[in-house]
């Protein structure tokens, strides 16, 4: 029936999205890495950037995942308020992830947090699925497979309102402390404001933003300062520590100032599709 989005359509789209995200580094990320390699003055750093670019090309040409850590599949789903579906959308996404795990394949990354028992790539709250409602009849699905190394270095701190001036230092210090662990060159996603959990969600959305979107003054200043630290690709020294700093804001409680920093490794995997209703 025309206008109705089917469960099979969603499952197929999820498999296809994950395949694209895992295998093809987005064009804006690859272009940014190439210009960083051309500017880089440190010879060790150049070996790392060249290997990264060669790896991205090799993965695409051979249709294999670029990184063995195929990540936590994080979905952002924009559901049109007039979209017509008669099935459990989240369940369809979970089915798509299970099928992609076999077909692409993906590394089984989901474990119980305490027993560490591995359940493949589907478990309680895994994959992570977020819904937003938007005007229209379509459903837009975006996937962001998020690697563990970069995610592990992420930090959230609840500042007090009088500490506004400490926020910049906190961001720079956090990047310095992470060193080579989040697989630099990184994208620094920052969420400022909201509540405890909202700031983290903002930071994640900031890390998802395309790299060819212009930076504001604060983002540019932070990027330059971070790159002046000399941490470099993989923490081995160099000019290229971060490719971009992206900040998202939300209003917060008069007594609060939450700041979250979400690290994205150079393998900034993402893909989107719109299913027309």
């Amino acid at each position: 029936m025309s206008g109705v989005i089917t469960k099979d359509q969603v499952i197929t789209a999820v498999v296809q999205l994950l395949r694209q995200a895992e295998i093809e580094l987005p064009d804006d990320v690859l272009a940014t890495l190439k210009s960083a390699r051309d500017r880089e003055s440190n010879p060790i750093a150049r070996t790392q950037l060249s290997a990264i670019i060669k790896n991205a090309d090799f993965a695409r040409e051979n249709s294999i995942p670029m990184c063995q850590d195929t990540g936590v599949p994080i979905f952002f789903v924009e559901v049109g308020r007039e979209a017509m579906i008669n099935f459990d959308l989240e369940e369809a996404i979970r089915k798509g992830v299970a099928r992609a795990t076999e077909e692409i394949p993906l590394r089984p990354n989901a474990v119980h947090p305490l027993t560490r028992k591995n359940s493949g790539n589907v478990g309680v709250g895994f994959p992570d699925v977020n819904f937003d409602f938007v005007p229209g009849k379509n459903i837009k699905i975006t996937v962001m497979p998020k690697g563990g190394g970069a995610e592990n270095m992420s930090v959230l701190r609840m500042f007090t309102p009088s500490e506004v001036d400490d926020v910049k230092h906190f961001i720079i210090e956090t990047v310095k402390n992470a060193g080579g662990k989040p697989c630099p060159p990184i994208i620094v996603g920052v969420g400022i404001g909201g509540t405890f959990d909202k700031s983290a969600r903002l930071a994640k959305k900031a890390a998802l933003r395309r790299l060819d979107k212009p930076s504001d003054e604060l983002e540019q200043e932070l990027l330059e300062t971070i790159n002046s630290l000399g941490i470099g690709p993989m923490g081995l020294g160099g000019d290229t520590t971060a490719l971009k700093v992206n900040i998202e804001y939300a209003h917060c409680h008069v007594a609060s100032l939450p700041v979250a920093i979400n690290f994205q490794c150079w393998a900034a995997r993402r893909a989107s599709v719109t299913l027309e209703g």
Partner: protein, 185 residues
């Protein structure tokens, strides 16, 4: 300087390269990450040989048709294995540790015994081209990422000597300069 080293590695092999040098490995590498380290430390007997060995902090993505083949094989964050490493080096004759991001507090344990080599993080696709054979898998009950995979490799790299056997730690030098820079801001 650039070196090609062949496993099993001798003390003479690993004493030559200095922090910042480039190394390529030929021979055998064995993956080991968090839970494999725990089991290595608690085991009295192990079903593989670690004397002169190169271990690889890696949880690979593998596929089995008739035999196992590597799909994506890159390094994981080595810092998680820092605490277990001195005892591991004491217990087994490991000569090279391959990983990414560096390690904390292991310079003394590595001294004149072992080198830390950094494989470019996330470069798991090109690594499959450097793996010539999946020789064995051990402790598969730990799960695919945590099992010990034994790979035969050729020109495995580029590996940057992150911590050499002479007490030099490239990561510590980088961090020191970053700290000085932060102080000057």
């Amino acid at each position: 300087m650039e070196y090609t080293l062949k496993t099993p590695l001798s003390k003479a092999d690993i004493i030559k390269p200095r922090a910042g040098d480039v190394v390529y490995l030929d021979g055998i590498i064995l993956t080991a990450r968090d839970t494999a380290h725990e089991r290595l430390l608690s085991s009295e007997k192990i079903p593989f040989d670690l004397s002169g060995a190169a271990i690889f902090h890696c949880g690979p993505l593998m596929r089995k048709n008739k035999e196992w083949s590597p799909i994506a094989v890159g390094p994981t964050t080595s810092a998680r294995m820092s605490k277990m490493t001195p005892e591991l080096l004491e217990k087994y004759g490991i000569r090279a540790i391959i990983g990414k991001g560096g390690m904390n507090g292991v310079v003394g344990a590595l001294y004149e015994k072992c080198i830390y080599l950094a494989y470019p993080g996330g470069c798991a696709a090109i690594a499959t081209d450097q793996i010539k054979r999946v020789k064995e898998v051990h402790w598969f009950d730990l799960g695919m990422p945590e099992a010990i995979w034994v790979f035969e490799v050729k020109q495995f790299g580029p590996l940057i000597v992150g911590i050499d056997a002479h007490g030099n730690d490239l990561y510590a030098e980088v961090e020191k300069r970053a700290n000085e820079r932060i102080k000057s801001l």
